[in-house]
């Protein structure tokens, strides 16, 4: 099936609630320059740039900046005319889908080196208007007009998730503590107090008490259970494997790619008894008897995430994700959805996402984990970057930020880029990047592995 595709370089901006210092295209340039000039490429970065024969521009909303065809501005600004390019959009999974499109460009032979460019600038409208724009990515005939918005959709799902499986608000709050406190060691992160663009009142370390006492957004989700809104950009460079090896000593192979989908409206998610088995979504390490009586996906699980994982695992030869994956960057739009995603990815049995977060040693008195970037199940690190809760959610850039973070983990370059080795997963050989849209309408999963 031809040669494999590798990630060779990445870059990202400082993320912030508002980056008024720069336009969108200037932010993209910041990330693109970093990708070309800072990733220890073996030949002159401008010669690498000349080898790029395809770009993908990935951004979510035309509303945030009132600019259609933004991709044309970006390609022009970066000097990529007249080579081929396409704009990719898929809600919150825009970045992951963009990366998949770049992968496909290389895999098909249409290009040999591709720059995948993700960006979003969400600060030019008020936070409530921004929430409304995001809510326009829900059904505008039936869900948005009744007062629907994303935190509320996820909150209603979390209510049902707690009801089905006995998950607690405390378990959810722990996710926020883990990710937000990780972000304090990632210089790019929006909540990192050292980030010069950070809003001081909403940055710094937090405890479980901060989360539980933060203002209610939509029951049971409180402000610190909800992800950030950000300005920023992230860029990844992909190359066909043999070219990748000429350009870097540490190519990271895309070993598995998966994509799944589900209904736009949560209202229309099937509530089929044994639905997981009927949809052929059992993973190799799972037993059918676990799920024969379980309603699936209902409003408690993300079937698209499971489908994407199953596809990526099959391609990468993953038979037990918890044993074979060292580091995961997943789409923690809400604390509840991180727990739900553990289950979709097969890191925990369905219903046991709460147990997985409880497996990391926690100081109940101080309300924090005993370590930064704790291992779950004594095995896997999830969202060392800080994720969407601690690092950023500049929608079109998010999936790319996650994949680049996993790449730097595998390359052992976290200290170089984040400015601290605290989040470097020692000897990380294989990682997973998960990108997710809507209430689970589109999900991508990438399995990335050491290629040297």
């Amino acid at each position: 099936m031809g040669n494999r595709v590798a990630m060779i370089a990445g870059g990202m901006t400082q993320f912030a609630k508002a980056r008024k210092d720069s336009t969108q295209e200037e932010l993209v340039m910041e990330a693109a320059r970093m990708a070309l000039f800072e990733n220890d490429l073996k030949i002159d970065p401008l010669d690498v740039k000349k080898m790029i024969d395809g770009t993908i521009v990935s951004y979510f909303s035309d509303h945030f900046e009132r600019q259609l065809l933004f991709g044309a501005i970006i390609r022009d600004y970066l000097g990529f005319n007249p080579i081929q390019s396409a704009r990719i959009e898929g809600g919150g999974a825009t970045g992951g889908l963009g990366l998949k499109a770049g992968y496909e460009m290389v895999k098909s032979g249409d290009a040999s080196v591709v720059m995948v460019i993700g960006f979003e600038k969400m600060s030019e409208v008020s936070t409530s208007k921004g929430n409304e724009f995001i809510a326009l990515a829900s059904d505008t005939d039936f869900d948005f007009p009744v007062g629907g918005y994303y935190s509320a959709y996820y909150a209603a799902m979390a209510t049902r998730y707690m009801y089905e499986f006995g998950i607690t608000e405390k378990q959810m709050a722990k996710v926020a503590v883990k990710n937000r406190n990780n972000a304090q060691y990632n210089f790019f992160a929006q909540t990192n107090s050292k980030n010069p663009y950070a809003t001081k009142s909403t940055s710094g370390f937090i405890t479980i008490y901060d989360v539980l006492n933060s203002p209610m957004i939509a029951t049971p989700l409180k402000r610190l259970d909800c992800c950030l809104m950000s300005d920023g950009a992230a860029v990844a460079i992909l190359a066909e494997e043999s070219i990748a090896k000429e350009l870097t000593d540490r190519p990271v192979i895309i070993e598995g790619v998966g994509n799944g989908t589900d209904t736009m409206r949560p209202a229309d998610r099937p509530t089929t008894v044994g639905g997981l088995i009927k949809d052929d979504l059992l993973l190799p390490h799972e037993k059918a008897e676990w799920y024969e009586d379980m309603v699936y996906p209902g409003l408690h699980s993300f079937r698209a995430g499971r489908k994407a994982a199953k596809m990526a695992y099959k391609m990468a030869g993953i038979t037990n994700p918890l044993e074979q994956i060292d580091v995961v960057e997943l789409h923690d739009a809400y604390t509840s959805s991180e727990l739900q995603t553990y289950e979709d990815l097969g890191l925990a049995k369905y219903g046991e996402g709460g147990k997985l977060i409880d497996s990391a040693p926690f100081d109940d008195e101080k309300g924090v984990f005993k370590e930064i970037n704790p291992k779950l199940a004594n095995r896997v690190h999830v969202n060392p970057s800080g994720g969407l809760l601690g690092c950023m959610h500049a929608v079109g850039a998010t999936g790319i930020m996650q994949a680049v973070s996993v790449m730097w983990q595998i390359q052992g370059k976290i200290e170089k880029f984040y400015g601290s080795d605290k989040l470097q997963v020692k000897n990380a050989k294989r990682g997973l990047a998960h990108s997710h849209a809507g209430t689970g309408s589109d999900v991508t999963v990438f399995v990335l592995g050491r290629g040297w």
């Binding site: 039936f142 948005f144 009744v146 209603a156």
Partner: protein, 178 residues
């Protein structure tokens, strides 16, 4: 010399950007197409759904109730023409949340409760319509926010609005039990 991370090296030097106002507004003339009867139903104080009875062609072997209504069945691809009146059906809460924050249009209504409904007597795969629950409607059963629960019985109510202003928010629910 202090070692600088790549991130630190790339911090922008611009401290003085110019920021200007940029207004924008639009009116859409939107059609509800073949499910228009649902919205006309709301105006007439009726809750209508559509049903596809090709159960042998459906994944779960059951008749499918569509609420939100659909004019076409996603499973058997048949046109769906049968409307059922659910105004007096036994309807329960499938899940819920009380919102204390919202998009700009709804900020003046907070706190409000969003629900997904569960129509008894039908498979609920395609019929967990999102709506709102009003817990303090004069003349109806009044409850506290803490009394709202999964499985609780509710009933539909309808706002009086002119036909050209009807949308999904014309429908709301109130408790049908304490």
């Amino acid at each position: 010399m202090v070692k600088m991370s790549v991130g630190e090296k790339y911090v922008s030097k611009n401290k003085d950007p110019l920021i200007v106002d940029f207004p924008y507004s639009i009116l859409y003339k939107h059609t509800f197409g073949e499910v228009s009867p649902f919205f006309v139903g709301l105006k007439n104080k009726r809750l209508l759904g559509t049903v596809c009875r090709n159960r042998e062609k459906h994944k779960n072997g059951k008749d499918l109730l569509f609420l939100p209504p659909r004019a076409d069945c996603p499973e058997c691809m048949a046109e769906v023409t049968e409307w059922v009146d659910l105004t007096d059906a036994d309807i329960r809460i499938y899940t819920f949340t009380t919102a204390y924050f919202a998009g700009e249009t709804f900020l003046d209504r907070i706190p409000y409760t969003l629900i997904n409904i569960d129509v008894q007597g039908y498979d609920n795969s395609y019929s967990k319509l999102t709506s709102t629950l009003v817990i303090n409607e004069p003349g109806e059963i009044n409850i506290g926010l803490k009394d709202i629960r999964i499985g609780m019985k509710i009933k539909p109510k309808f706002k009086d609005v002119p036909l050209e202003k009807v949308d999904a928010s014309t429908l709301y629910f109130v408790p049908a039990e304490k």
